[in-house]
């Protein structure tokens, strides 16, 4: 035990590398101990008994327990005081690990030099999460220090200790028992417990509630995947669904009749200056188109398919200007065009008296950012707008002045019809977030050489990473493990180094294009850094790269 020395350090580092999360936990815990105002005197490890090699959760638990007990024995009130609301958990702790106490009041704290200078809060936060990538503890050398409890320490010392904790992230190991070396490295349960207790000490007890709320993953779901089902292509899906007999035909027809009876009322409302918005479950497209054809006897009607994935609202406006109004000059921004149309229908010298605009899915992805322009159109007395929404939170896209402009009268148009057309652009099924290799090739075929190279960089990176991964972890790979990802910045740097992009803006726009086609996906890590990856495995990528050449 005593002579672990340098060797121990080495072992410790490798261990730490394998379990970076644990070291974080340790840090968090120790810090808490210091924070609690325990009078710990850190002296150098003259009579160091232990090594960091056995940096084990259990040991730490035992250590703090020992400290607790010592405190309690020596000066009960003092010990209880600072513990406060978290006291419960602390004492619970003690009981549990009494067996490992070993009767002495010495604890050793190992100082991880690698993590020097980290703020306490950060260490604590990380520790509480119990995971997190990469640890600077790899380079850690441990300076053992013995903490000797001294009853007569006063407040000043406590403060000093706190500062100490701030400056150096302290790792703490216990030497109490020699059995530790052989012990299994802290399993999940232990970690959980430590987290909880640490949290409990840090703040008031109710915080634990929230901690539990967010750490417990809710009910566990099974690991079944759709791969158990036979693959079904979209075309097959469509042919099958076309044959499926719709349910409740008769009733739904009655429902539709009822809706259709309201056509005249809606017309009346439109003429009175209200714009109509339809909501409710079911595709409202067919019935609205029917209404539009009826309305078109009166004045030109424009039908805009807001669900259309590549809808270009500017083109829509241009089309209105050129085909309805008959102006040839259709330049300007969307706001300009919208106000041009608005102005035309407000002016007295117009030829077209009024116009209907029927917008299917005004909450559609391509219309979401053009609500302002739509509101300008709807604001005009001579432009009657009918729109439908399907997303349940759709009304949130309007602010109060827009709502005033739109002047909606809401009508429930529940049809129970399936959204065949609205969703014909989406992919059914499991591949909805991915496109197959064929799709990727298809997209790549239409791109320039430069952009292809941008794709290639990521693909090659992923291939290399996955090869590394395979070599490294082999059997350890869990099912559903994440595909290798590349940090956004690294990707950008790599592309810039090869002169593929000149600025981040162009890079971002290329990336957006890939993302739109679902070739590349991105993800924001918890700390805000962005990671990108191609949702295909290495073998697939290699085939793609080959066929690209």
């Amino acid at each position: 035990m005593d002579d672990n020395g340098d060797n121990g350090d080495d072992i410790g580092s490798t261990r730490r590398r394998a379990h970076p999360s644990r070291s974080r936990v340790d840090m968090g815990l120790t810090l808490v101990v210091t924070k609690r105002g325990r009078k710990t005197l850190l002296t150098d490890a003259a009579h160091a008994t232990s090594t960091s090699a056995s940096a084990d959760i259990n040991e730490i638990i035992r250590l703090s327990a020992a400290v607790d007990l010592e405190d309690k024995e020596n000066n009960c009130e003092e010990a209880i005081g600072p513990v406060g609301a978290a006291g419960q958990s602390v004492y619970g702790f003690q009981k549990r690990s009494q067996r490992g106490r070993g009767g002495n009041s010495i604890s050793v704290s190992a100082n991880a030099r690698g993590t020097r200078g980290r703020g306490r809060g950060r260490g604590g936060a990380k520790g509480s999460r119990g995971r997190g990538a990469g640890s600077s503890a790899t380079k850690a050398r441990y300076r053992e220090r013995v903490t000797v409890e001294d009853i007569d320490e006063d407040e000043n010392d406590e403060d000093e200790d706190e500062d100490d904790g701030d400056d150096e992230d302290v790792n703490e190991d216990s030497v109490a028992d020699s059995q530790d070396d052989g012990e299994n490295i802290g399993d999940g349960d232990d970690i959980m417990e430590v987290e909880e207790d640490e949290f409990g000490r840090n703040g008031p007890a109710y915080e634990r509630y929230f901690q539990d709320l967010h750490t417990t993953k809710g009910s566990k779901t099974s690991n079944n995947t759709l791969s158990k089902l036979p693959p079904l292509s979209q075309a097959e899906c469509r042919t099958i669904l076309a044959k499926v007999r719709p349910k409740h035909e008769r009733e739904l027809e009655t429902l539709e009749q009822l809706h259709r009876r309201e056509f005249k009322q809606w017309y009346f409302e439109l003429t009175c200056g209200f714009n109509i918005i339809f909501y409710g479950y079911g595709s409202k497209r067919r019935i609205m188109n029917m209404l539009a054809t009826h309305l078109a006897t009166d004045a030109p009607a424009v039908i805009v398919n807001g669900y259309f994935p590549t809808l270009n609202f500017k083109q829509t406006l241009e089309k209105i200007i050129s085909e309805v109004i008959g102006f040839s000059d259709t330049t300007g921004t969307i706001a300009d065009l919208a106000s041009l149309i608005h102005g035309y229908f407000e002016s007295d010298s117009r030829e077209v008296d009024k116009m209907y605009i029927v917008v299917h899915n005004i909450d559609g992805p391509c219309l979401r950012k053009h609500q302002g322009a739509l509101a300008v159109l709807a604001d005009c007395k001579r432009i009657h707008m009918l729109a439908s929404i399907d997303h349940i939170e759709a009304p949130l896209i309007w602010d109060s002045s827009m709502i005033t402009r739109f002047n909606w009268a809401w009508h429930d148009l529940t049809t129970f019809e399936s959204y065949t057309v609205e969703m014909s652009y989406e992919n059914y099924g499991s591949e909805s977030t991915e496109i197959g290799p064929r799709g990727v090739l298809h997209v790549l075929a239409s791109l320039t050489e430069n952009v292809k190279s941008i794709f290639r960089i990521l693909a090659e990176y992923q291939i290399a990473e996955s090869v590394m991964d395979d070599a490294a972890s082999g059997a350890q790979k869990r099912p559903g493990a994440k595909a290798p990802e590349m940090p956004y910045n690294g990707y950008f740097a790599a592309c810039r180094d090869q002169f593929l992009v000149s600025s981040e803006m162009t890079f971002r726009s290329q990336l957006t294009e890939f993302r739109d086609h679902k070739v590349i996906q991105s993800r924001h890590a918890t700390d805000g850094t962005e990671f990108v990856h191609i949702p295909l495995d290495a073998a697939m990528l290699e085939t793609i790269l080959e066929s690209m050449d």
């Binding site: 036979p230 075309a235 006897t297 030109p300 102005g343 529940t414 129970f416």
Partner: protein
Amino acid sequence: MAEAYKPVDAFDSMTESTFILRPSSQQQQPQQDKPKTKSKRGRPTRVTAGKSNNDDDDNNENISANGGYVQLIQARESADSMQLRQRLFEDMWVPLEQLLVEIEQQVNNVGVTEVCSFIDSSYKRIESREEGQLEAPFAEIAAAVAFSGVNTGDHSKLFQSLQNQLVSRGHHVALLESQYCSSLPNMLKALLDQVSASLGVSDSTGPRGKSSSAVFGVGSSAKTIPYDMSLLKLWWDMSKTSKDSRAVIILQDFEGFAPMIVDDFVRIAARYCQEVPIVVVLGLATSYESIHQSLTKASISMLNVERFNLQRSKQCIDAVIRSIFVEGASTLLFGAESYKSLIDQFLMYNFSITGFVNKLKYAVMNFFYAQPLSVLAAMLKHSGGGANGRTTVVECPIRLSEDQVELIRMQKSVQEFLEDKADGPDGRKYVHHALTDDEFFQNTALPEMVQLLVSYRQCYRLGMEMILAVQGAMPKSLHKPIHMLHYYGISQLFDECVHWKTLSAVMRRMKAPEMEQLLANLCLVVEAAGSIDFAHAIQNGVDIPFLLQEATDLISDPEAALTEQNETSEALSKRIRTRTDMENRPFLLFDDSSSDQMLRALDKCSGHIEAILRVCLLPYQRAPLQEIFYYKQSLLLDTTFSAQPRAAVQAALGKSHYYINCDCCRSAAEDLDDSNDDDDDGEDNVDAEQRLMASMNDTSIAYRLHQECGRMINLYDWYSAFASVVEQGGGQARKQVAQSEIQARFMRAVEEMRFLGFIKSTQRKTDHVMRLTWAM
């Protein structure tokens, strides 16, 4: 993907998102499409729908015929009556709207005038101190901060009137909205366009004044000009503007502008404000803080800010309610429920007058569109208009049909009216006539009822005015705004309403001079009201003028009046300062100045006033024909203006039978418990609702299944559950549902749920989706 997809109809395409239907081309287009549709989808629904389409085409052929009005009472209503309704709507709404606009303008004018006079005097102060003072090394722009309240929807009207008034005072105004000022160049462009139009220096054609300049600003000539503030200076010098005119720049929605842009703009403007007298008006919806938060200190220091409050929507709503509901500018009044819904939307939501007016308009529309008896509104003729309008009863211009007369007779208030009549002389005969003879009913009984209604309204109005007068005599803390008073008036009886009680309690503590003053005021109110039909009051046994007169006499000469009224000696001798009186009037203990006689007179006076108010503020429920003329469809207003799309979708999926009302999904539930009597047994129904059945809509099944899940949903497990539900009904309906069909249907359902926003895909775990909604 693209090659596999066939467009469903003419308005669906893989390449085109916008379709235009023209009136002329309409004839051929749908005709072409319809057969195509049928053949293409070949689904049973399509065919039936297509067929019914044709049936319906006759119905809907000219949707624009009669302005969308339809004949009510199962289409048995006469065309005359329908057209009358249409005409009445126009007759009523147009002046009403006009009135509303006027009221709003009037109320706003106060604040607007303040701002205007500030702008008039803005640079004069700076000019006037030229002598003997050092000129500041920097220039300050005169700026007005106008708080205009949170009702941003109304602001364009407010600022429009500000602009108009400024223009009429000879200033040059640019009204900027944040949506056109997304960048500094855009802002300058919008600004200069408007100013140039106002200065008349622009060489382009036509009068592009005011807001339309921004509108037509995309013209070709406008493009060539480099927009710069120096241009403004140039124009300003060129055109011979008078010394007093200012260049006013209004930022209507200051919060909407990007702070950087305004910041830069202020710096630029400050550079020019010595040559061009620029005044900036910042419209604020929130608080003064927002200026400090968005602008830098440097630019704030360049503004010489004066604050104004343009927030007047509460005054406005009071004025509106007074003139429309109390003074009766509107034929249609609101029942307590719907009035509450109307006013609540205003008070608790956004203070938006526009929203209020829209709701009101919709109610009026609904009244004339859907109420076959709204033709009776023709019998009320407003003359004079506005506050002093008189309502007279005229004959109904059309003969009411049998159905309509029958409908009127069916109203409860009409029945009550006839019952009252039956007690009078010749009552039975009258009632008999009214019930059997349509002619007599329309010519005699109906005008009488309408007259009574008019009388009730006049009395109500008088009562409201009197309450206001009474309130005027009270301490400020007891004052309530008129929209509250009106709500009390229509919803509660006089004796039940807390506020009325408070008022009368305070009234009973009044001393002689105060009471005298109050009575004088009340007399003035009655006089101002002019000729009023007191039939309603007399019917309830109260003669308002007489009572008022008596009270006045009493207070002026209590001794004489009391003896004159030969009160019984017993009443006279009874001491007024009894124990119970002490409880009501503790102050009497300390007040010896007034004699017993005077106290008695005061007591009587307040009694009289209460009696008058009691009858005047009778809720409308007693007035004949109230069912027709008091609007009660508050639910309709709520669903039309505060719709709950999410709840509707959830109801459609979770409780489909509310929409579909089918037998198939219910039968099994009824088998389960035979005694289930529709809505008797709530719990059983809940159970039945929760049973999943194969006959339900696919998405509905998926939705109900997903409700049982946690935050993460495993698609495969979801699918298994779905399949088991779908297959369970397979026995009776179909032989065996193919696995691939179930899969396809499931995928469609999931995709629909995603489309509707109930779930979203996630990458946390393979083949999982995340649940997004949690409400029931």
